[in-house]
Symmetry: C2
Subunit: 239 residues, 2 copies
């Protein structure tokens, strides 16, 4: 008998190796690493069990000895990249700086692994590194005069805000992946459509704002820091 019964379980509780049979040739982390590599390179939609197996160097169905379902692999992938948080120098005593640093690290991770956004908004975040993340944030917020629930809300808000910002930053590039034409052409065609609509006069206020802000140069870093700062201030008013 090969597969296990499909009874409720969470991947984190499943032992990587049960003592009986032959020594496994590969490891769960090998497979997850390959999956992350492929998703980084070609996008999450191009990630298939066959391609992972080819990359690892084993037969497709061998993967199912390590990971019961592809969904579980998603969960492992999200947690694996959550392991990239370094949290260096924190807690520093300045919780605002610490949380901003967390946000910046999150941004870096999401930019390196854009597919995480899609997986996380569908709820794949409950592994050990997610717990480590929460514990770290709570440590930084130790002295802050906020009830526990509010701290969790603050953390969730930062996470959500970073994801939203990076999703917006990457929207065009991510969309262009797998399109039969280039990102530049896509942008040109969409821009032209937008301009035509605005010129129609049906959206005067939007047209005004676009005209106004079309001139001013936008700095992504500045927007990011400002937005995150606003989130922090909305929980604890700056002195």
């Amino acid at each position: 008998m090969a597969g296990r019964a499909a009874e409720p379980e969470v991947i984190w509780a499943r032992p990587e190796r049960a003592g009986r049979g032959p020594r496994p040739v590969y490891s769960r982390s090998d497979i997850v690493a390959a999956a992350v590599r492929l998703a980084d390179a070609d996008g999450i939609d191009a990630l298939s069990m066959r391609r992972i197996a080819a990359d690892v160097g084993c037969g497709t169905m061998s993967l199912y000895n390590y990971v019961p379902r592809k969904e579980d692999l998603y969960e492992l992938m999200v947690d694996a990249v959550s392991g990239e948080y370094e949290f260096t120098g924190a807690p520093s005593g300045d919780w605002r700086a610490d949380m901003l640093a967390v946000g910046r690290e999150a941004r870096g991770i999401l930019r390196r692994h854009p597919w995480v956004i899609r997986l996380m908004t569908t709820g794949y975040a409950s592994g050990p590194n997610a717990l480590r993340f929460l514990e770290h944030c709570l440590t930084c917020l130790e002295g802050v005069g906020l009830p526990g629930g509010a701290k969790m809300e603050l953390i969730a808000n930062i996470n959500g805000t970073v994801m939203t910002i990076v999703a917006n930053e990457l929207a065009l590039a991510e969309r262009a992946r797998g399109l039969p034409w280039s990102e530049e052409e896509e942008q040109a065609v969409r821009g032209a459509y937008l301009m035509r609509q605005l010129a129609g006069g049906a959206y005067p206020r939007l047209a005004a704002v676009m005209a106004e802000s079309g001139a001013t140069r936008i700095d992504p870093e500045e927007i990011f820091d400002r937005t995150l700062g606003r989130v922090l201030d909305s929980f604890v008013a700056p002195e």
Copy 2:
């Protein structure tokens, strides 16, 4: 020759009917409505061109006369449900109330159509109803002493916040879809794992917060209003 050349185009600029051939039997909105219905019922992953065609009552490949690629269908779907905004009674003169109402409407739409979250975070939002939405928000923000760019940031923040909150609210239910066991079993198994981890002592602060907030009852409506209020206050400090 059936298909068109794959040259850069945006679905909104493609005419629904080009005068020459036989009268189309169906319409783009028929197809989009069917797609929305199916996605609501069975989730976005279960949405296939074959199932849409079966629901509409036509051959699979006939769909491609109305929608060049499935990605374009996604775009049409997002815009279709964006048409559900009613904006009744706005602008009312109280921009805070107006924006809160927008957020509440957005929440309702996302709860009715959970798949929108995934599509929007991948960047599918540039159709006419998205423009209508932006114009409405800008109208409500007319008298507010904020530069245009900041207004756009505010709108984006509200949107993002609502999406994040609803995504969290729906995470469990959405994840349970298509699992080989029930949502209750999933929740039980995940809860048990979490408790085991917290009992291990590796995450003392998290354990403390969970113990503290485990007792207090959480009201989703209250969290929602409070969070959105915080976003508004972070742009314009309350008097």
